[in-house]
């Protein structure tokens, strides 16, 4: 049974600011449902006694010393920017943001 439907995909597309037409939503809903079902097989081997695992490798506390390292120059930083002005990235004005 599909755990993900067309409405979910439409919602995610909106959150991710991806413009998707009806055909794309239909196709993506179908494909994602297959993927979700496939991953669900994990639950068949992991019982209730196995906690959800985000980090399978038993590593912790990987820290960096608080020492300044190399940085990009202003020119380097802006190299990939579609547009810039005054040494800053220039972006369209976007309302409704944080």
């Amino acid at each position: 049974m599909a755990e993900i439907n067309r409405d979910d995909v439409a919602h995610l597309a909106r959150l991710a600011h991806i413009d998707m037409n009806d055909d794309e939503l239909d196709r993506m809903a179908e494909e994602l449902a297959v993927i979700v079902d496939a991953i669900k097989t994990v639950s068949e081997v992991a019982g209730d006694d196995v906690p959800a695992t985000s980090h399978p490798i038993p590593l912790s506390n990987v820290f960096r010393d608080d020492v300044v390292g190399e940085t990009l120059s202003n020119e380097e930083a802006l190299l990939g920017a579609p547009d810039n002005a005054d040494g800053r990235f220039k972006v369209p004005a976007i309302l409704d943001g944080e």
Binding site: F63, D66, A77, V91, L95
Partner: protein
């Protein structure tokens, strides 16, 4: 900028009808040398987009690494807020799309903050203590800085485009979240200000943040809701964003209480939304709608491994904590023997540490207070600077006081000496010498001045002869005037009484 002005109820009327519930999210920028997840400098005011690495710009293939000092700072803040420290916690991605975050997510913490379940006791101006419960304090990173261009006011409305500086992106932040604060009543605005002041003081005292609000080192989002007195469930809240001075926090909370009350009185529901604070009009305007289910699709950050703490580490950090500011104040007040009112004035004038240093340098608590609350505060006010910024050292006060106590100068002359020292004319003793400021201690010229003063006020002289000793002040005043303050007032008094044949 807004055409529509919201209706507000008077604060007193709002309080008669409703009970405010508050909640705060305070963001504290740490003063580590580098950012939270990259080795770029954490510095204010540099050339835009120079304190950046590929990690801060969210370029493909980069890997973040956690700043160990920032983690220790977070634990220290947690301990100072009486929090429990998580044995194990993770970082999480908070996904949103806005140009201030080039990665399209903010690295934060979600279900398991590093510190949780704490409290701090907030002392209001009249000494009332109010306990604020802390829900959590978690680690995250700051966003880049947007400047909106093309609009007439520099605000986002009407802007044609925005310029982005990512120097601030990735600066370590600790977000401190309170539990709902109930029962503050009409003290709510005052408590709001005092709470943010206390957080600022704590992080500054810990040395983990520069805590300069004007630079955005400490930023407050203030949640306000109202409910009728007889109701227990909370009303709908609004969140006023980025209220960035202590005064604004107080005003914003007061304003939102008054605005909510008017809305509720009109029978319409409060819209759950963010509000923007405008210092110029001391009012808020509607931001964006905000639901409790803002969908950030949090998930565990796969590129960062968990932070695991242990008792030995936590206790080592606890041992490094400085004395909490509130306890330090209690101790100093007891040591110095100041009254509550005197001590509060000292704290409000920002001279507590200066007085502490001055006493340590070798004068009494009373003398230190006299200088810092008197002459130095007066000069600071005139120059519009903090008293500590005038360049008056504890050693200078000790020297001036020694000159007064030895009778070489009096209080009045000491101000002229201070002028000279601050003008670079040398040590106090040298200034006394150069400016000829020593007290006139030779009785000859004093007696001459006394006779003059007595002759000028014969009725007063008669009163003193008749036993009204307290009238002597008028004559002393005349003598001090005649000697341009260079007389020892105590000696003048003695001489006047002798002259008139009265027992002091």
């Amino acid at each position: 900028m807004t055409a529509v002005t919201d209706e507000v109820l008077s604060f007193d009327e709002a309080m008669e009808k409703y009970d405010p519930v508050l909640g705060f999210e305070v963001h504290v920028e740490l003063n580590t040398k580098t950012k939270m997840f990259s080795s770029a400098p954490n510095a204010f005011g540099d050339v835009p987009n120079t304190n950046v690495t590929p990690v801060d710009l969210g370029l493909p293939g980069v890997l973040p690494v956690v700043n160990g000092v920032a983690v220790e700072s977070a634990i220290k803040i947690g301990l100072a807020l009486n929090c429990k420290i998580a044995e194990k916690c993770y970082f999480a991605r908070k996904n949103y799309f806005y140009p201030d975050t080039p990665k399209n997510f903010q690295t934060s913490q979600f279900e398991d903050p590093i510190a949780y379940d704490g409290h701090i006791d907030i002392e209001l101006a009249d000494g009332t203590v109010f306990r604020v419960e802390i829900e959590r304090a978690h680690m995250e990173e700051d966003a880049g800085k947007l400047t909106h261009m093309g609009g007439s006011t520099g605000r986002i409305q009407g802007a044609e485009f925005s310029l982005v500086d990512y120097n601030r992106a990735g600066v370590p932040l600790i977000e401190i979240v309170t539990k709902p604060i109930e029962g503050a009543g009409s003290r709510a605005p005052e408590l709001a200000k005092a709470y943010v002041a206390a957080i600022r003081e704590i992080v500054k005292n810990l040395g983990v943040s520069d805590a300069r609000m004007e630079r955005g080192n400490v930023r407050c989002d203030a949640n306000v809701s109202l409910r009728p007195h007889d109701r227990e469930t909370f009303g709908t809240r609004t969140e006023t964003k980025n209220v960035n001075s202590l005064r604004s926090v107080e005003h914003a909370v007061r304003y939102e209480i008054q605005r909510h009350a008017a809305v509720l009185d009109s029978g319409t529901p409060i819209i759950q939304e963010t509000r923007h604070w405008h210092e110029d009009t001391r009012s808020t305007t509607s931001g964006r709608p905000k639901s409790d289910a803002d969908d950030y699709r949090y998930f565990p950050e796969p590129d960062l491994v968990p932070v695991v703490t242990n008792d030995a580490w936590i206790e080592k950090l606890r041992a490094e904590l400085p004395e909490p500011p509130a306890e330090r104040r209690k101790r100093l007040q007891a040591d110095w023997g100041y009254s509550d009112a005197e001590f509060r004035d000292v704290v409000n004038a920002g001279v507590m540490s200066s007085i502490e240093d001055t006493i340590a340098a070798g004068v009494s608590a009373a003398v230190a207070r006299k200088w810092w609350m008197g002459e130095i505060s007066r000069r600071a006010k005139l120059a519009d600077v903090e008293p500590a910024e005038l360049g008056v050292t504890p050693e200078l006060i000790v020297e001036l006081n020694a000159l007064i106590e030895s009778g070489k100068i009096n209080d009045k002359l000491s101000r002229d000496v201070l002028d000279g020292v601050l003008a670079g004319e040398g040590t106090p003793a040298e200034v006394v010498e150069k400016r000829g400021l020593a007290v006139v201690s030779d009785d000859g010229p004093l007696l001459e001045a006394i006779d003059g003063a007595l002759a000028a006020q014969p009725d007063v002289a008669d009163k003193i002869r008749g036993g009204k000793i307290q009238a002597v002040g008028a004559i002393v005043g005349g003598v001090m005037k005649a000697t341009r303050g260079q007389a020892d007032a105590g000696r003048v008094r003695e001489l006047i009484l002798q002259r008139l044949g009265v027992e002091g």
